[in-house]
């Protein structure tokens, strides 16, 4: 190990390699329920070249490498399950290009959501990217790698759909590119080439290290507004969502169902965000959204919450502070959610399962969803807050999470950014030849099995 450490120090500099116990402790866990697993060391590279050299060294020493961005995935995917090093990407945080006409940005693999958001606001106020509701230190690479979603997902789909290309250091140290940037100096998109980006998305950091990526940008509007639709029958939700998305007007749609505060219990809400270049256009879009669900208004079974502008502001913050606030309800710093990616027609079933599981396990819960695309699917989330210092509380949350994962698969959904037990549940259901192909691909990319080992493996 000493030899490796010396080699790494030569690559990144003394300050950016650490095997200090306190560092190893901090990097051993995230806020979720997965047990801690400490790395032997933490390394912080500053360039693609450094990442490449680190991978060569790791191969030479057969030491595992776990890439990490903000470490906010919550499902324990950045724990060093088999020791080795955490490759903390946060120093690679440059925004190397913004193309305002073709609307994309190119950022390094450790650039945070907050940095790009602030940079665009300051330098390109006419542009924005799709921001997830994670704390702003979460990285674009970490988020794209897990098929994240955010405030423009109705418009643009999953964040992996918004990817225009990547630069990746393979487990063996070669630097490859996917998308147009592999042929051209422009990072406009993945078409028309064979799409190799899929080799790195959804793999939980087991196939390579993303050192740069291109991401789509969208118009940032001067006028922005939000509607909140309310009804009390979960069975109505797929139809309501389908009607609202049919207008192709919303940027983001996030249903929420929560028992706290008490007045909200039992009601289905959908926040619908949209923007426009003028007030007249904004009103036009609002009317389209309202017209789409007129049948519910006429039957008096649903409608829009009356909300004067000052009250709306709270709901229009990006990222929203509400989830972070909920994450702290039990105090003690524990929070995790199951994101069930599924078809929207399962909404009512998903909601009922959530209430049943939460009540049975007596956990603090909040439920919601993010609609992705024009109703093409949704990320239905079951969020559980727990007190990390209270073992029984944590065990209850863990059990609720496990039951939720099982229920998700049962309904035809798939747990998102699955933690280890959920990965096992998915593998069980996956077509065997598909899983075999995954293993062959991994074998080809990572012959020494050093990339985030333990993940996507049959137990």
């Amino acid at each position: 190990m000493k030899e490796l450490i010396d080699r790494l120090k030569k690559i990144v500099g003394d300050r950016f390699v650490s095997e200090a116990p306190e560092e190893r402790y901090i990097y051993s866990m995230d806020m979720g329920t997965m047990p801690a697993s400490a790395p032997d060391l933490v390394v912080m590279p500053a360039s693609t070249e450094e990442v490449s050299k680190i991978m060569e060294a790791a191969n030479a020493h057969q030491v595992p490498v776990t890439p990490m961005g903000g470490g906010l995935v919550l499902s324990g995917l950045t724990r060093a399950l088999k020791g080795g090093m955490i490759l903390d990407m946060k120093r690679m945080n440059r925004i190397t290009e913004v193309n305002p006409k073709s609307r994309y940005a190119v950022v390094e693999g450790g650039t945070s959501q907050g940095m790009l958001q602030a940079y665009l606001k300051k330098n390109h106020p006419e542009l924005k990217h799709s921001v997830p509701d994670a704390p702003p230190i979460a990285t674009l690479a970490g988020n794209v790698c897990i098929h994240g979603s955010g405030h423009l997902s109705v418009l643009g789909g999953y964040h992996s759909d918004m990817l225009t290309g990547m630069e990746v250091v393979l487990p063996t140290g070669e630097v490859i590119r996917t998308g147009s940037c592999s042929v051209s100096s422009d990072w406009f998109g993945k078409a028309p080439l064979p799409d190799l980006s899929g080799l790195f998305m959804g793999w939980a950091g087991t196939t390579g290290v993303v050192t740069r990526l291109g991401i789509k940008l969208f118009p940032s509007y001067r006028y922005n507004d939000l509607l909140i639709f309310v009804c009390d029958d979960a069975e109505d939700m797929p139809d309501v969502i389908s009607r609202l998305t049919s207008t192709q007007v919303a940027e983001d749609m996030t249903p929420w169902m929560t028992p706290i505060p008490e007045w909200a219990r039992g009601f289905m809400h959908i926040n619908i965000a949209y923007g426009a270049h003028s007030k007249a256009e904004l009103t036009f879009k609002r009317n389209l959204l309202q017209m789409s669900v007129k049948a519910y208004k006429d039957k008096k079974t649903g409608g829009f919450l009356p909300m004067p502008p000052p009250q709306k502001n709270r709901y229009m913050k990006i990222p929203t502070p509400d989830l972070v606030r909920f994450a702290d309800v039990r105090k003690g710093g524990g929070f995790e959610y199951v994101g069930a990616i599924m078809a929207i027609e399962h909404f009512a079933e998903a909601y009922r399962a959530g209430v049943e599981i939460a009540e049975k396990n007596e956990v603090s819960y909040s439920m919601g969803a993010r609609i992705v695309g024009a109703g093409h699917s949704m990320m239905f989330f079951y969020a559980y807050a727990f007190n990390r210092a209270d073992q029984a509380d944590m065990a209850r949350a863990q059990k609720a999470l496990e039951e939720t994962n099982a229920a998700t698969l049962e309904m035809g959904g798939i747990p998102w950014k699955a933690e280890l037990p959920a990965q096992q549940q998915i593998i069980e259901k996956m077509a065997p030849d598909t899983f075999a192909l995954m293993n062959r691909i991994r074998e080809a990319l990572d012959p020494n099995h050093i990339m985030n080992p333990g993940n996507w493996e049959r137990a």
């Binding site: 009804c231 008490e262 007045w263 208004k297 649903g302 409608g303 009356p306 004067p308 502008p309």
Partner: protein, 345 residues
Amino acid sequence: MRGIAVEAIKFDPEICNQCETVDCLMKCQYIEFTDVAEAKTEKLKINAGEHSRVLDECLTCYACQEYCPYDNNPFYLLVERQEQLGLLPAPTPIVTEQLKMMGPKGKIQKEAVTPPVVNMCAFPMLTGSVRGKLFEGASVIVGTDIFCNIMWLHFAKNSTIKERVPKMIDNIMDYYLRDSGVDEMVCFHDECYGTYTNLAPAFGIEVPFKSIHLFDYINDRLDELADRITPLNVKVAYQRPCSNRLIPETDPVLDEILEKIGAERVPRTYDRENALCCGGVPRVHQRDDLADELVEKNINDMLDVGAAYCIFNCPFCMATLGQEVAENGIMPILISDLVQMALGE
């Protein structure tokens, strides 16, 4: 002493039968009638508990309560009929969720108070308005456990008013006034004053304390603080709220206040008996087109008369219109804040 809610709203059908002008409906700004005869036919249907298109088209602006020259409570009766006939003006989930949201939370605790006791209703975020010399020594009471509950008139929910208002009155007495030997309270909002002085008697609810309207309180205070007033010399447009329709006798007091602080209440088209809804309630009723129209009319009217300030006494009107008013270069402000400006506070 618990006020007792009775089933019926106080009104005399005979007065309506004899009525020749049917001002309650003929003056309505939101529903058209071909002539007095048609208005009368509709009014008599309402009185008889039959369906009338008025029950569907009503904006719940409260104005007919002011228009009736005989204080025959046309608006309270209208809401009663809406509820009896199941004609909810807003979608059911909106109503039921609001009912839960604004319901008493049972968090009230006994507190000693000293006059002036200022009732801030259910709006803790507005208690900062009670400050300075104007409210020197005031005790503030606030929270959903003393919420006046008048808003349910917009939701066809007289039943909620009957159920909750007596409880709120009990709370005000039991938790604040009685033990402190206080028998009067300043109502910061028209809603509360309207509830305790106009709605309660019409609903047969007893009120054991005296309510003082904010305007009366400020008007008297300005006499005491006369030497501190620096006249503002500004033109103000007043956005008169729906609940002031229940208590029109307080409107001239505002004129006195404005005169004392050197503010001119510009004679805009939509003031006094002709006041126009701020647009908030039609949004509750999912009538956004109408709400947009009302907002535009109000703003244009204020601009036409060259108002520098738009003054509000209703926090909901201010929340609804404030941003739009400001975007049009007019400063939105609560009346108490305007007065405090004149007092140099």
